[in-house]
Amino acid sequence: MAAGLERIDRYAELIVRVGANVQPGQLVEVIARIEHADVARAVARAAYRAGAVYVDVGYSDQHVRRAMIEHAGDDMLSWTPPWLLERAKHFGQVNAAIVALVGDAEPELLADLPGDRVGKARMKELGEELTNQTNEGLNNWVVTGVPNAGWATQLFGTPDVDALWDLVEFCVRLDEDDPVAAWREHVKKLGARAKLLNDMRIDSLRYRGPGTDLTVGLLPESRWEGCESTSATGINYVANMPTEEVYTTPDCRRTEGTVRSTQPLVLAGQIVKGLDVRFENGRIVDVHADEGASVIEGELASDENAPFLGEVALVDGTSRVGQTGRVFYETLFDENASCHVAYGSAYAEAVEGGVIDGVNVSSVHTDFMIGGVDVEVDAVCRDGAIVPLLRDNVWQPAA
């Protein structure tokens, strides 16, 4: 018991000091499910120790959401309660630090509900507000995972929370003697990789593999980013823990071809498997899936820009998440095992000039995994040169 508590507190310190990088005098928001209470509490303690002026923990409950989807009127599904919008706006205005905890305790809870209602059941205005805040860089924030029985069961078939803790500990480098120093090293490595890609002046990326023949056009202004971000107020933070990716914002008008998802995706409490997507002129025009296609379709109908790409990210097989050889059924982890793209909103900070033409703005952002040993990724440079980036999941460029 004591060892478990110690691990939670060490994790909370890492989340607060390296992830969100909470500053003295900051308001801190913690976004959690009730099943994350033990880590949320440790984060609250760590945040106060770091000098937080107030820690506001907002718990949500998927069972409450389930009841809403089952019983509430159509007009309520995407309604944002005004006080929650006010709350989000306030956290933007005062440049709060934000810690978001993920790790679904009941991944299949909504599986028997109508997919279109599940897909629509998102607080739309709140989503737009948070997208704007992210684009304006108002907050220093981190998204990180919390092991729990339900999530462990999905991975192992048994609720072995300790085994999941071991995996998470490895992925977030908490197994290192000095996790803070290990993260500094890691941040440096991904930063160098981003710089190399920026120097290549890439016009588009090409993906080829089973079921995949996809071209994703980039903007001349697209900028590759490593894992360290800087808020508008100058606070450095690591937005995802774990993170193994370099990413950029594509030209949302120039995606063509077909792509097959290489890993299952958990979305709005449902699992999407065997996803095939076809793009024309940047837009998703066709969605097929062995399971859960209707959730994707529901999300793509959220707003007119939802079916366009907002992010493209490269991950090689040396990633710690990849090394576990596990599907985590949690985007935060799975996207760091493998190359991925996201439909929906783009990250303005990965574009010179912010939200310019070709940068997608939407109330959704959903990553799906398209990388793996069978997928080749090439860069087509603006000078016409074709540079292999990934073969057999191995990073090809020097450095």
């Binding site: 009730i34 609250a44 002026v53 389930r66 019983h71 309660p81 709350r87």
Partner: protein
């Protein structure tokens, strides 16, 4: 993989239906605001479902976490203690015209014991409390509270985490064991309403309490009546704010109280337990607080505002109460106040008062009930012409 809908606990669903239909009496199309805590999730979920079944437009659930509160009191700066987030004020203002549900039953009664009592007492969202108070005066929402049996609470009561035993007690006290709990509640409330009517018609000038350590006279308001916990909003929605409820109560003249009163049961306040509380009252004001344990918590509360040390409520309960019949101290005000007579310092009861608040009815950001009743307490009414009317002797109601 086959989809599995959440397992349904029939007793819990029936309990939630009772709280929603009889307690808060949620109306078709109302927005429902549920304030609960993470350890009460099964009840919170059942209440959410019940509210939607009753036609709620939307159910907003806010989970509190006493561990986060502990972190704030332990490690946070002074200004955090009384901070009322702007959005929280907006949330409470938005409750007007809606229904509210809350849950009680402390899963970790000793959680706050290692903290500085003075800081625990000060840690209140002052501005939010102010809004709640206004809404109570304006009677603008229908609300109710119910308890959730947990291991921690059961352990506090029985010395062992026997949740099932606690569930049986809760089901008995809330009449959930009746074939038709809704009808049982109607009958029960009619009986208590009758008691309130008789007391009001006596037009008493004061109540006199006598017992070991107790000799207290509290003046009554001529423009306050006695009632049971069958409330009505200004729009006429009838609701029962506490389940269980066994009391008839009034709001006294806060300017007229003299003597001493000894608490007959422990009081749980902000996670702390106060035992052997003894108060001395002069000119309506509590001027001395003694206790075997936890006196500092009460003293801290009485300093929250300048009207906290005046009485706001007198409530009478006899030994036939279902809560009383369990012969159990629940360490939870919702239950214990219904086992026995109690008095509250702080905010009065607007529902029973006709007139300007402050003219006799106390106004404060605090309302804390403490238990004074039991077989050794005698309660008399004093009429305007000085006649003594026995109301309670040895826990037996004298006026039925």
């Amino acid at each position: 993989m086959a989809a599995i809908a959440p397992a349904i606990d029939e007793r819990l669903e029936a309990y939630a239906d009772l709280a929603v239909r009889v307690g808060a009496n949620v109306q078709e199309g109302q927005t429902v605001f549920l304030t609960t805590q993470v350890e009460h999730a099964p009840l919170a979920r059942a209440l959410t479902r019940a509210a939607y079944r009753a036609g709620a437009r939307y159910v907003d659930v806010r989970y509190r976490d006493d561990h986060v509160r502990h972190a704030m009191i332990d490690l946070g700066p002074d200004e955090a203690l009384t901070h009322s987030p702007e959005w929280m004020k907006q949330l409470y203002r938005a409750m007007e015209g809606g229904a509210q549900l809350w849950t009680t039953g402390d899963p970790e009664p000793e959680l706050m014991n290692d903290l500085d009592g003075e800081r625990v007492g000060r840690a209140r969202m002052k501005e939010v409390v102010e809004i709640i108070r206004e809404q109570m005066v304006e009677r603008s929402l229908n609300w109710s509270g119910v308890a959730y049996p947990s291991e921690g609470w059961a352990k506090q009561i029985y010395g062992e985490p026997d949740v099932e035993r606690l569930w049986e007690a809760v089901a008995f006290c809330t009449r959930l064991d009746e074939a038709d709990p809704v009808q049982a509640w109607r009958d029960h409330m009619a009986r208590l309403e009758g008691r309130g009517k008789i007391l009001t018609e006596l037009e008493l000038d004061a109540i006199h309490y006598t017992g070991p350590g107790t000799d207290l006279t509290v003046g009554l308001n001529p423009n306050a009546r006695w009632m049971s916990a069958l409330f009505r909003t200004r729009d006429g929605i009838e609701y029962v704010p506490n389940m269980p409820t066994e009391e008839v109560f009034t709001t006294p003249d806060c300017r007229r109280a003299e003597g001493t009163i000894r608490s007959s049961r422990p009081l749980v306040l902000d996670g702390d337990i106060i035992e052997g509380l003894q108060l001395t009252v002069k000119d309506g004001k509590i001027i001395d607080v003694q206790a075997d344990k936890g006196a500092g918590i009460v003293r801290g509360q009485l300093e929250i505002d300048d009207r906290a040390a005046y009485f706001g409520e007198l409530a009478l309960v006899d030994g036939t109460s279902r809560v009383g019949q369990t012969h159990t101290t629940f360490f939870d005000t919702l239950y214990d106040e219904n086992a026995t007579c109690h008095i509250a310092y702080g905010f009065g009861v607007p529902e029973v008062f006709d007139g300007e608040a402050g003219e006799g009815m106390n106004i404060s950001g605090v309302h804390t009930d403490f238990m004074v009743g039991g077989p050794e307490l005698a309660v008399d009414g004093i009429t305007k012409d000085g006649r003594v009317v026995p109301i309670l002797r040895e826990d037996v109601w004298q006026l039925d």
